[in-house]
């Protein structure tokens, strides 16, 4: 049977409505909608509640003057740390809620300043976050306040209202309902919200034959199919690397592109830091460098189509029954890897990339089963998504039905298929021509909204209620921090609308659902607990020891392909394009390429040479009969003959920010994210791709230091070499610190270059966005940047990341040169920047050896957009034109704690009480911050490690931020290729 056949026969798409009752174990869910809950603020306030009411009122009044757009949500929400009566103006409060992407939740603590969400941090207790975030989570705050978000109901391009919508559309649905609702279709993304699924399901009462379709451009169909082939049904496959010894990732980016990415990054990288020595060894085979592969102990390059044969080689060497050798170009490496995997036994695991064919996933499971790591490293559970569908088959079915005239009404719920549906479906055309009633609900008036009859504004997750499951199944409640800024409704409310509930509140719908399925006990207490903690206890899905089907060993690998192949990947920043209007994400350099505001056709230097193209050259990229045009960008470390294109660009509608950013590669995608037989032809024009780092190598300099484990053992002080003779002499007397002295360490062994810190810093410190043209001039404003260097052979380089921010030097070169005295040394050792005093000579920046200072060459901060004003952190100055700025070690956070300590009359501040924004965001715990005068603080201890070193110590500036050298753990059998620094590709 063909693959398509397998896929389809296993999952007849018409079987759409699965019972949710088996999940919830109750049928009460159907009646949930009837229950009603009084909103907290509807009551006439008395006593304590009255005081709260007045406080909230006064806060609202004062804010009305600022932005007139801040309103408290009506429902009672439970603060994470403090009870509502503690509201003190100027003191932020934190609420647990959950960010959702691709149907997986990430628990966050959102910071609220008098009702305005300004920043999010990871929820340390949430398994999907472990206290960390990634760039898209951090940037979700900006999405909330985005002035271009959809704010009103649109009827055929003209503003309308919910009332008109209800009046005009709902009656017309009666006709569809009357014949069983066969023509009524709902299209959503992947859904793991139990309450939402139940709502969709409950629509069936009105439209018994309606169908629920799902589409996610970055779908995991192949993973699902692999699990289905292995276990007979779709299962969730997740990992727990905490006890792993050997990990092989096969074109899989577990750290920045996986449902459990934050947890995985923590599990893997936190063990690699601080000088390593953990017995963990990671191998990565990649077609394009990712955060996972670049920090692996061994990284091999192969085409995506060679991954299957490589894995066959591994399986064959391991002795997995019935698997013959694949004879991949990396056969020798495969043998060494297999040996290592075998040695690790059930502490070894293989992880296969989402875009690889199901057969490879199946073989991966067979290997994991052979290694007996199912249950130790690899966990197989019931699906996290509710009613998981094959997304491709689902949208194909929808298009087919539409063409046949079977679709009378399509509700597109938070999806953008007109932009990102598979190209062979001609979805945009079918949608416009064959569907009589098209309703789109989304955060933006995007491409799909434009061709819909109705566009309904959707509420942002920070302004509405919902629920979601994390990668391990843990349920979180999404609770709002603010009432919807615009006249929007949540997905829940919109679905309820179609069910006839015109004024249902998301809060009631979500809470009602959980109350209905609650089994015994005090529901209110459990509910409040869940809101407070950010997740529901004991909702994790447990591993079930399903046996892997015998067939897995006999699966035939797709053969590797000749010629150019294209791999389409989600953009690490804008994902599938849904965040394209988020300027923070657009301006954050893509990891490794460090390109901003664009995507490109990434290829290895040799491939570019072979194709006779160079950077910035516009080429026509053709796959089959489809062609797109995009610029070339040479990427060392990409596999030969592989072109990698990030998705999510070339959007045309949904804001001004996204306009002009990159080109869309969706027209090239049919069923697979890997396309073969690509052709490239130059169009003899150029397009400026802007990168924030023009230089590839360290020029033989030793700013980044690393060693292999054996080198480290032989010479624990390797990071101190070569010894520089530094006399700590200064013309001026040194500062003395009798009290606290703040310091930081950044662990190069743990950093995987994911950029979370950059966006966290941007959000925390009101850092403006400058736009592509200004970045091209070298004027980006990020206070922390991730320097990326290549070492060794330019075709197969080694990579290193170095987060670089203000070092807060003891003898800071910036301080004595400022004629206005605007940058001064603080009593606790901070190098302080006094914006008000700065006249902008830029001498401080010139004299900074680390070049971490940033200058407002123009008025970069947006002083006009009302909604953006509300996003800003009120504890941090919004800088004007002509002023220098730089990292402050989050002085506002330091001060908040130290002032409180003074008020409370206890001078000692417990270690870890102050966390900088970058430190908080870091998924791998690479950043430590604290009082270096306290010998028991974590940072003081880390600074005593032999791997601790400072960059440019010979300049005698005595930086407060030091680095921990990376220690890798390569396999001696593969040759101790100690990464000697070699200058290659001097400038390109």
């Amino acid at each position: 049977m063909t693959r398509e056949g397998t896929l389809k026969s296993l999952h007849p798409v018409s079987e759409q409505w699965r019972s949710l009752d088996e999940l919830s174990g109750t049928s009460e869910a159907e009646t949930f909608a009837a229950s009603e809950f009084p909103a907290a603020w509807d009551e006439v306030p008395t006593g304590q509640a009255r005081r709260d009411f007045l406080k909230v009122m006064s806060a609202s009044m004062s804010l009305a003057g600022l932005g007139a757009c801040v309103r408290q949500p009506e429902e009672k929400i439970v603060p994470y740390v403090k009870q509502p009566e503690d509201v003190i103006p100027g003191k932020p409060r934190y609420y647990a809620t959950s960010f959702t992407r691709g149907g997986y939740g990430f628990g966050v603590l959102a910071e609220s300043h008098q009702g305005r969400p300004t920043h999010v941090e990871g929820n340390p207790d949430h398994p999907g976050s472990l206290g960390a975030t990634d760039p898209s989570i951090q940037a979700s705050v900006l999405e909330l306040w985005d002035p271009e978000r959809s704010s009103t109901v649109i009827r055929r391009g003209k503003p309308a209202s919910w009332d008109t919508f209800a009046k005009e559309v709902l009656p017309s649905l009666e006709k569809i309902a009357s014949d069983g609702g066969q023509g009524f279709r709902v299209l959503t993304g992947a859904v793991s919200s139990p309450s939402l699924a139940t709502l969709i399901r409950s629509l069936r009462m009105r439209f018994p034959n309606a169908q629920w379709h799902q589409w996610e451009p970055i779908h995991r169909d192949e993973v699902q199919l692999g699990s289905e082939l292995a276990f007979g049904d779709i299962k969730e496959i997740r990992y727990n690397f905490a006890g792993a010894h050997t990990i092989l990732t096969v074109d899989a980016d577990i750290m920045t592109d996986a449902p459990g990415r934050l947890a995985y990054a923590r599990q893997v990288m936190s063990r690699r830091g601080q000088g390593g020595d953990t017995g963990l060894r990671t191998y990565a085979v990649e077609s394009y460098p990712t955060s996972t592969g670049t920090v692996a102990d061994h990284r091999f390059q192969a085409k995506a189509s060679e991954m299957g044969t490589f894995l066959s080689d591994v399986a064959h060497e391991l002795g997995v029954d019935g698997v013959g050798p694949g004879h991949s170009p990396l056969e020798a490496e495969a043998k060494a890897v297999a040996k290592d995997l075998k040695r690790g036994g059930n502490t070894s695991a293989v992880v296969v990339g989402d875009h690889l064919p199901a057969e490879v996933h199946l073989l991966g499971l067979a290997i994991n089963s052979f290694l007996t790591s199912l249950g130790t490293i690899v966990e197989v559970t019931e699906p996290v998504h509710i009613h998981p569908q094959y997304k491709l088959a689902s949208i194909e079915q929808l298009t087919k039905d539409a063409k046949e005239g079977q679709v009378q009404c399509l509700i597109v719920l938070d999806a953008n298929p007109v932009y990102n549906a598979p190209s062979h479906l001609d979805f945009a055309q079918v949608y416009e021509e064959h569907i009589p009633l098209r309703i789109h609900a989304g955060l933006y008036q995007d491409e799909t909204a434009r061709v819909s009859h109705w566009h309904l504004p959707l509420s942002h997750y920070l302004e509405t209620w919902g629920d979601v499951r994390a990668y391990d199944g843990t349920v979180s409640i999404v609770q709002p921090l603010i009432a919807p800024l615009y006249d929007s409704k949540s997905t829940h409310e919109i679905l309820a609308l179609f069910g006839g509930e015109l004024s249902a509140k998301a809060a009631d719908l979500v809470k009602g659902y959980w109350e209905a399925v609650s089994q015994g006990g005090d529901f209110e207490a459990k509910w409040n607990r869940a809101l407070h903690d950010g997740f529901m206890a004991d909702t994790r899905l447990e591993h079930i020891p399903y046996p892997v089907s015998e067939a897995a060993n006999k699966v035939k690998m797709p053969p590797s392909e000749e010629g150019l192949e294209v791999v389409f990947r989600p953009c690490p920043n804008v994902y599938d394009g849904r965040y394209a209007n988020n300027a923070w994400l657009q301006e954050t350099p893509r990891p490794l390429s460090r390109v901003v505001w664009d995507n490109a056709i990434y290829m290895s230097p040799k491939t570019a040479e072979h194709l006779k193209v160079k950077n910035d050259e516009l080429v026509r990229l053709t796959v089959g009969d489809k062609t797109v045009e995009g610029p070339v960008w040479v990427m060392p470390g990409a596999a030969k003959d592989v072109l990698t294109v990030h998705l999510g660009y070339g959007r045309t509608h949904g804001g001004e920010v996204l306009k002009g950013a990159g080109f869309s590669a969706y027209p090239l995608i049919e069923s697979s994210k890997v396309a073969f037989g690509a052709r490239v032809a130059s169009v003899k024009r150029t397009y400026e791709v802007v990168t924030v780092q023009d230089h590839w190598t360290l020029q033989g300099r030793n700013h980044v230091r690393h060693a292999t484990e054996s080198e480290y053992r032989a010479n624990p002080d390797f990071a101190q070499e070569p010894k520089k003779h530094v006399l700590p002499l200064s013309l001026y007397p040194d500062y003395e610190y009798t009290g606290r002295a703040w310091g930081m360490t950044i662990d190069l062994g743990a950093c995987n270059g994911c950029n979370a810190c950059m966006v966290a810093c941007q959000s925390e410190n009101n850092i403006p966005v400058v736009g592509k043209a200004q970045v091209a001039k070298g004027r980006e404003m990020h206070w922390i940047r991730i320097d990326r260097y290549f070492e060794g052979d330019v075709e197969e380089p080694k990579f290193s990341f170095q987060p670089m921010t203000c070092m807060h030097c003891e003898r800071a070169p910036c301080e004595p040169v400022c004629p206005a005295n605007a940058t001064v040394h603080g009593p606790e050792g901070l190098n302080q920047m006094v914006y008000n005093r700065c006249i902008g000579t830029r001498y401080c920046s010139n004299n900074c050896p680390y070049k971490v200072r940033r200058f407002n060459f123009h008025l970069y901060a947006d002083w006009d957009s009302e909604s953006l004003k509300a996003q800003r952190n009120p504890d941090v100055t919004v800088r004007g034109r002509g002023v220098m700025e730089k990292c402050t070690y989050c002085i506002q956070r330091i001060k908040e704690v130290t002032i409180q300590a003074k008020v409370d009359d206890h001078e000692r501040i417990p270690d870890g009480k102050i966390r900088t924004a970058c430190q908080s965001a870091c998924p791998t715990d690479a950043i430590a911050f604290g009082d270096i005068n306290d010998p028991n603080s974590k940072v003081a201890k880390l600074k005593k490690l032999p791997v601790n070193y400072t960059v440019l110590e010979e300049l005698n500036v005595a930086p407060r931020t030091s680095y921990l050298a990376a220690v890798s753990n390569p396999n001696p059998e593969l040759g101790e290729d100690s990464p000697k620094v070699k200058a290659h590709g001097n400038h390109h």
Binding site: C838, I839, G840, N846, G882
Partner: protein
């Protein structure tokens, strides 16, 4: 005078030309110089030159306005290159401003008689160059309207400027230099202003010169006080000649940036300043003296001497360049070696570097030849080349050093925008405009001093002795 030099006459030795044409008399000199500001007609050459300068001055006004409206981002600056054209131009103009004080103060103390004919003019040039230079430090700041914070004045915030900063030293050095130069120039003008007063026919003009002459009547007491004031000011100005560019060089030398952090900067900057100052004096003097027929007062002796000073300082500058390279190599510091050897000579700005070497090191070698020094056209072209070279020197120091310092990740490129050029050209306009105004309204040569060089005066001097 001939008798004194003829004693040294050897084979091939040609005695230097006189500092003044011996046929000139008191009256003819006064007439020659004093009539220029008072002549009623406007010469076509003057009006053309003035209008060109004035047009360029409008470019400056436009550039400044655009800059103030949009911010320093209109220039090509970035991080890491936080200083560009503005500082290059600043140092260049300050350097040009060096010749005047050197000529009027140091040469006065050294009793060099050839300074007399060119001192007034050079001092005026100095003032105008310093005025052009002064534009940049203020405008290059991000918030020029707050530039007064650089001044140490008591304020309610009790904040003082950072006295450790070389930029603050600049403020003092430049302002002192400008003040002393203005005083020196003005004091030197007083006797001539009185002459102009006496010669003027128009009542208003007479009144203006009279006011400016501060009641000078030429009494012996006046001359006595004048001599004392002049000497005192010369004494005050002499250290300033050295200190100004020394302190300007500290802007760079005090920093930690390879290419800037160099102890040789003070002497080499001063030499470079004198070099460019004399080049600019010649650039202006050669056409002026022929246009106004001043050859009898500004003789070939002056031209020769200026060219020789250029040759000497040019050699010092060349020595400075080679020492920079040598010390970078000798230090063993990889960043220094990279910057001064690899980067300057072979980096993306290598063209600018080699152009600088051509302009500043190769070109002055021609000045060894008398024939070159006497060929006014060739010499004039040469001075232009040197001025370009000195501009390039500052460009190389400021831009190349900044664009690639310690961490390769932060390296970036710099190039001036149309607004960078606009302001630079604009200050050239300001300079030209002021020079043309000066030669039209004031005697560009000190009449009374030149008269002292006349044979008659010399005789009476000898008698006194």
């Amino acid at each position: 005078m001939e008798t004194t030099t003829s004693g040294h006459n050897q084979a091939g030795y040609v005695p230097p030309p006189d500092v003044i044409d011996r046929s000139e008399t008191y009256g003819s000199v006064t007439n020659l110089i004093g009539s220029i500001p008072l002549e009623p007609r406007i010469r076509p050459g003057w009006i053309t030159g003035f209008l060109v300068g004035f047009a360029l001055l409008q470019v400056m006004l436009l550039s400044v306005t655009y800059l103030l409206v949009h911010g320093t981002g209109v220039w090509g600056l970035n991080i890491p290159v936080g200083w560009g054209f503005a500082i290059v131009n600043f140092v260049w103009w300050v350097g040009i401003g060096h010749a005047g004080t050197l000529i009027s103060a140091i040469l006065l103390l050294l009793k060099q008689d050839w300074r007399m004919a060119i001192a007034r003019f050079s001092e005026a040039m100095t003032l105008f160059a310093v005025a052009c230079a002064g534009v940049f430090p203020v405008l290059h700041t991000g918030r020029p309207w707050l530039a007064f914070w650089l001044l140490p004045y008591p304020n309610s915030m009790q904040i003082w400027p950072q006295f450790r900063s070389p930029l603050l030293w600049d403020v003092f050095a430049i302002s002192t230099y400008a003040t002393v130069s203005i005083l020196f120039w003005y004091v030197g003008l007083i006797p001539d202003l009185a002459t102009m007063r006496d010669r003027a026919k128009n009542k208003l003009i007479k009144y203006i010169y009279g006011t400016l002459a501060l009641g000078w009547r030429g009494s012996a007491w006046h001359w006595h006080r004048y001599e004392i004031a002049s000497l005192t000011l010369a004494g005050l100005a002499t250290p300033l000649v050295v200190s100004v560019h020394t302190i300007v060089s500290f802007d760079f030398a005090v920093s930690v940036i390879p290419g800037w952090h160099t102890t040789i900067f003070p002497p080499y900057f001063v030499a470079g300043a004198v070099y460019s100052g004399f080049a600019m004096v010649l650039t202006l003097l050669i056409p002026l003296r022929s246009y106004y027929g001043l050859q009898s007062v500004v003789t070939m002796r002056h031209i020769h001497n200026c060219a020789k000073v250029m040759l000497a300082t040019g050699l010092i500058v060349g020595y400075g360049y080679s020492m920079e390279i040598f010390i970078a190599w000798y230090s063993g510091v990889e960043y220094e070696q990279f910057m001064l050897i690899t980067e300057r000579m072979t980096g993306p700005y290598a063209l600018q570097y080699w152009a600088l070497i051509f302009c500043n090191v190769i070109t002055p070698q021609f000045l060894w030849f008398r024939g070159v020094r006497e060929n006014l056209v060739l010499l004039w072209i040469l001075t232009i080349v040197v001025n370009i070279g000195m501009w390039l020197e500052r460009y190389v120091i400021v831009v190349i050093s900044l664009h690639r310092d310690y961490l390769p990740s932060s390296w970036d490129m710099y190039s001036g925008t149309v607004w960078d050029w606009g302001l630079y050209i604009g200050t050239l306009g300001l300079f030209t405009t002021l020079i043309f105004l000066f030669i039209r309204v004031l005697p560009m040569i000190a009449i009374f001093e030149v008269r002292m060089l006349l044979p008659d005066a010399q005789k009476s001097e000898e008698k006194k002795a």
